[in-house]
């Protein structure tokens, strides 16, 4: 079924073709059946806010399609993007388990399909399915890993140039399966990239110009090509 946002909605987890590739959803049939009974499938347009930091946890959001921006915000409006979540991730997990408020704000970057599970249903689901409990522990471990990586990067990186170079190399590594891993589509604005590396939009624009001048990268519209990988790697601490 096609939603108004151009998404093909996957109605049932049992027949979902993507399930095998996703970390969380690839569960034994009886657990998927139980999940099927407690989830609410919803389609969101780009720019929809799933939850806001500080809000009491209502439940978890299993991202089936699309990307979601996870960020934290200060009282004076400054934003830091922690991660761009992709299909297969469970959002709002640690808050739903601990009962503490959501630590992050989740906003869709593309039209998304999300399966929402209410907190009390999710906690019961965990208690009754050991395999799900283990899968959740794995997902939380990944989240902890990401947070530690971010702490290291924020607390110990020396310059914005180093952090931008590191980010571009990480994106290219994620793009590893593509035919041309050094060529990628930039889907974030300079403002959003600045929010990812903890600097200002002006600094990101200046650094892109500088990287281009030094022939480290090439920018054609929204396509970025890494021209000198070794050069970028030199900017990053070994």
């Amino acid at each position: 079924m096609l939603s108004p946002y151009g998404l093909e909605i996957i109605e049932s987890c049992l027949t979902c073709k993507l399930r095998a590739d996703k970390i969380f959803c690839n569960l034994p049939p009886q657990s998927v059946q139980a999940l099927e009974a407690i989830k609410y499938t919803t389609a969101y347009p780009k720019g929809a806010v799933l939850f806001v930091e500080g809000q009491a946890p209502r439940g978890v959001f299993i991202l089936c399609r699309g990307r979601v921006k996870l960020s934290i915000c200060s009282s004076d409006g400054k934003t830091l993007i922690l991660k761009i979540a992709e299909a297969g991730e469970v959002l709002g997990l640690s808050a739903s388990v601990s009962g503490k408020p959501y630590e992050l704000t989740a906003e869709t970057l593309d039209p998304c399909q999300v399966n929402f599970v209410k907190r009390e249903d999710f906690l019961r689901f965990l208690r009754e399915h050991n395999d799900v409990c283990l899968r959740v522990a794995e997902q939380l471990s990944e989240k902890y890993n990401t947070a530690c990586h971010e702490i290291r990067s924020l607390g110990l990186s020396h310059s914005a140039a180093e952090k931008l170079a590191k980010l571009l190399l990480e994106w290219s590594m994620k793009n590893g399966g593509a035919r041309q891993p050094d060529r990628m589509k930039l889907t974030l604005t300079h403002e959003e990239i600045a929010q990812m590396i903890g600097t200002s939009r002006e600094t990101v624009t200046r650094l892109f110009a500088d990287f281009k001048k030094r022939q480290l990268i090439q920018l054609k519209g929204s396509t970025l090509v890494i021209r000198n990988r070794a050069g970028l790697e030199n900017l990053v601490s070994p």
Binding site: I72, S74, D76, K78, T79, L80, L82, L93, S94, A95, V97, S98, K100, E103, L104, L126, R127, N130, C133, L134, V136, A137, E138, L140, S141, E142, K143, Y144, N145, A147, C148, H149, E150, I151, R152, L154, G155, L156, S157, H158, A160, A194, Q195, G198, T199, S200, T203, S237, P238
Partner: protein, 162 residues
């Protein structure tokens, strides 16, 4: 450097650990536990594990204190927090099988219980109640880490805009 102690399973279910991972376990689960853990005493300054090192298992801190930190290749180090009695160390890396995200070092003489990764994963698969405690403990770790990201990250952004 460690000195093995003759310690019964009651250490894990009484005192600082009583509200934690192994609270309220049935007798057979406790017996099974006794067969897989080893108890150790560490002096101050002992390194339990280092960032990047593959996880060999989890440490349960019964007595003492352990500092958790991250480091850079320049030799700089950032203290994340100090762990106290009742906490589990090395949990996420043990679950994912990846390298430790942080380094752990005792700051005072400490008493710890160690469970090998393979034994711990098997134990978790067999005991949902322990697995639920693990999930809760990880959630708290994630919360604490995000809180640190907030402090560091927003301060950095403010600095960049000034």
């Amino acid at each position: 450097m460690s000195r093995k102690h003759d310690l019964s399973a009651t250490v894990l279910t009484n005192g600082p650990m009583s509200d934690g991972l192994f609270s309220g376990l049935p007798a057979h689960a406790l017996r099974q536990l006794t067969g897989i853990y080893s108890a150790h005493h560490y002096p101050s300054g002992a390194v339990l594990f280092q960032e990047g090192e593959p996880a060999s298992g989890i440490f349960l801190l019964c007595r003492g204190a352990v500092k958790l930190s991250v480091g850079s290749s320049h030799g700089d180090s950032l203290l994340l927090r100090s762990a106290g009695p009742g906490e589990i160390l090395g949990l996420s890396a043990t679950l994912t099988g990846q390298g430790h995200e942080v380094s752990a070092e005792t700051t005072i003489p400490s008493h710890l219980v160690f469970i090998k990764r393979k034994d711990f994963l098997r134990y978790l698969r067999e005991h949902t109640d322990v697995c639920l405690q693990v999930v809760e403990s990880l959630s708290n770790d994630v919360h604490a880490a995000y809180e640190r990201v907030r402090t560091l990250g927003l301060a950095r952004i403010r600095h960049a805009h000034n």
